[in-house]
């Protein structure tokens, strides 16, 4: 009963998610110092993985592991920067709209809904194509300003429901300023949801950057997982059978995304208690079914669940 409601409970999912996520973050921060220059082309071309080159080399003789390490840095920077921009925008368009209500809400929600139905990738492409040189930051910026609408919808509905709670109305009556109510009363209750949306936005931006790179609209002159896949495709890695070139970057994107999703699951169980209570309640029901023939129906399983729920 006295459990902490804000921090996720420690579960296998959470631990696995954190290990994967942090592992890749550490890889992105530390590994670039330990590998050779990712653009050093003195190695032999298309070497399969060996002791010298753990993940082999590319067509231009670049070391794949070195590229992967620097690419991790690039991809994470894009992901975090874009997600930060998207979250700030979704805070404005979601929480502020949901709290303010009235005409402000109508107009902000209208903008959100318009952004929601305008197809994302084509819009990003149309904007990116006019920029002749695109830095990593510019790509992150474009992905950020086009990818916030989904979170805004989620946050708005939650903020609307919080607005009518008693404790918020009490602080309004007590004469607290709107800014204070938003930051001190509303925001802390939205934190789990906000964290989940942020993690989701990071994955979304990394996938978006990879997609943009693949169609030639990625950052110029930077290495990301997306540019690696693109180079591999362009360098005919598939016909050459150089799986060590195109498999690792995509796999890392997928694994990183899965890690963040697992963390999100644990957060979800905080936000939506039904998801966690039910697993235990089912345990009870199955225990009941199993013990039914033994003439004592529900009672043996009952006390146990009282403790855990």
């Amino acid at each position: 009963m006295a459990e902490n409601r804000i921090l996720p409970r420690r579960s296998a999912k959470l631990v696995a998610g954190l290990v994967i996520t942090l592992g890749i973050v550490v890889f992105a921060v530390v590994a670039p110092f330990l590998v050779q220059d990712p653009r050093f082309s003195g190695n032999d071309a298309l070497l399969p993985p060996s002791a010298d080159h753990l993940l082999g080399t590319t067509k231009l003789g670049y070391d794949v592991l070195a590229q992967l390490a620097h690419g991790a840095r690039g991809s994470l920077v894009v992901g975090l920067a874009a997600a930060a921009i998207a979250i700030v925008l979704s805070l404005i368009f979601g929480i502020f709209a949901g709290y303010a209500g009235g005409w402000t809400d109508e107009i902000l929600t209208m903008v959100t809904n318009i952004m929601l139905v305008i197809p994302g990738l084509p819009l990003v492409m149309v904007i990116a194509v006019y920029m002749q040189s695109r830095s990593l930051w510019l790509v992150a910026f474009i992905l950020g300003i086009t990818g916030w609408a989904g979170s805004a919808v989620v946050l708005r509905s939650q903020a609307r429901s919080l607005r009518s709670r008693d404790y918020v109305e009490a602080s309004q009556v007590a004469g607290e300023r709107t800014v204070r109510i938003l930051l001190v009363e509303i925001l802390p209750n939205l934190l789990p949801l906000l964290a989940a949306q942020f993690l989701f936005a990071v994955v979304f931006a990394i996938l978006g950057e990879a997609g943009l790179s693949f169609i030639g609209l990625g950052p110029n002159g930077s290495i990301t997982w997306g540019t690696m896949i693109t180079d591999a495709y362009g360098g005919n890695a598939m016909s050459a059978g150089a799986w060590w070139w195109f498999v690792p970057p995509g796999l890392l994107i997928a694994v990183f995304g899965a890690g963040l999703s697992l963390v999100n699951f644990s957060i979800d169980e905080v936000v939506n208690p039904k998801l966690r209570v039910v697993a235990e309640a089912t345990g009870r029901r199955r225990a009941t079914e199993a013990s039914a023939p033994a003439a004592v129906p529900a009672s043996p399983a009952e006390p146990k669940t009282e403790v855990t729920v």
Binding site: V126, Y130, I215, Y233, M238, G241, I253, V255
Partner: protein, 330 residues
């Protein structure tokens, strides 16, 4: 009725916003796209004054017209269905290129989306129903599916089933060596289906996980509702509770999501189409981007956006019937 009027008004405003955005983006960007395009066109053939005028209206350029006059003239061109002329396929009108590519994207993506939805919902319902047992261990695996970059999946499939084991064709929407162009015959349809296997599999693999997770979570929530307990207490058959009580209610959000996915089918799986050189809208968009074919790109963006809007509007109306609650909260 109020609900439908509100939705109609919303979509009218969104259409206006999308078209204005299409008008504004090229004008806000650095450089002079119209001049770049016209210079390219001049290299590949004669540019008539009419074409030049259209291009300048589409992309903006220093003319003596005010912004407002340009905006009005731009609308005039749109209403006449004139989206300019492509540079990469000079002098084919943009409208012609788009209408040739549209059926490919809709056919492939539409079919793949339906398959993925049916499989995902069925699997999600089953995993949700069996919650608390060993099947829960499938869930973490499905998160991996969900965050796969889909063009990377396409690369793996090409590598596995077109390069290492040459079972399926690598590129194209049909066999270009046998057929000069699309034709209405069974042989041609067979060729299209054969070429569509790997692209469709890519879409199914990378979107299936999302449907599964969404449906599973809704199933779990729904199964804890009181009316399920009541149904169990009444001693209804398990299959009846599953299909008539749980799945029916749990599927509602997924059906809404399915509607939206269907609406977005026209955007094609842009990057996936690039991998397979599939002749859909996505491939066309990439051709436009790589050739700095701004007119084609703006035209595509406009057509894609308007089609998505029309489709989501339709879905809103349908969903209003399926779930009457939306009509009152909308």
């Amino acid at each position: 009725m109020r609900y439908y009027l509100r939705r109609a008004a919303f979509y009218a405003i969104t259409v206006w916003a999308a078209i204005s955005l299409n008008f504004l983006i090229p004008r806000l960007m650095p450089g002079d796209p119209a001049d770049i395009m016209l210079a390219k066109m001049a290299r590949s053939g004669e540019v008539t004054p009419g074409v030049e005028r259209t291009i300048r209206l589409l992309l903006g350029s220093d003319t003596d017209q005010t912004m407002w006059e340009q905006y009005v003239a731009y609308w005039g061109n749109l209403l006449r269905g004139d989206l300019g002329v492509s540079v990469t396929k000079f002098p084919t009108p943009v409208v012609e290129l788009i209408s040739a590519a549209l059926p490919w994207s809709i056919g492939l993506l539409g079919l793949a989306t339906i398959i993925s939805f049916v499989l995902g919902i069925a699997a999600g319902a089953w995993i949700g129903w069996k919650r608390g047992t060993w099947v829960d261990h499938i869930i973490p695996g499905s998160t991996l599916l969900q965050s796969l970059p889909y063009f990377w999946v396409a690369l793996l499939l090409v590598y596995g089933f077109a390069v290492v084991n040459p079972w399926f064709p690598r590129i194209g929407g049909y066999d270009v060596f046998t057929f000069d162009g699309p034709q209405a015959s069974w042989v041609f349809a067979g060729s299209v289906a054969y070429h569509g296997v790997l692209p469709a599999l890519t879409v199914v693999l990378s979107s299936f996980g999302g449907w599964l997770l969404g449906m599973r979570n809704m199933m779990v929530s729904t199964l804890s509702e009181d009316y399920i307990t009541t149904a169990e207490a009444k001693g209804l058959r398990r299959s009846r509770i599953l299909l008539g009580y749980a799945v029916r209610n749990a599927a509602l959000p997924s059906i809404a999501g399915f509607g939206i996915s269907l609406a977005f089918v026209v955007t094609g799986a842009i990057v996936m189409e690039q991998v397979f050189t599939y002749p859909g809208l996505g491939k066309l968009m990439i051709t436009a981007v790589q050739g700095n074919d701004f007119a084609l790109m703006q035209g595509l963006f406009l057509v894609i956006t308007l089609t998505v809007l029309a489709a989501t509007f339709l879905m809103d109306i349908v969903y209003g019937f399926v779930d009457p609650r939306t009509r009152h909260n909308g």
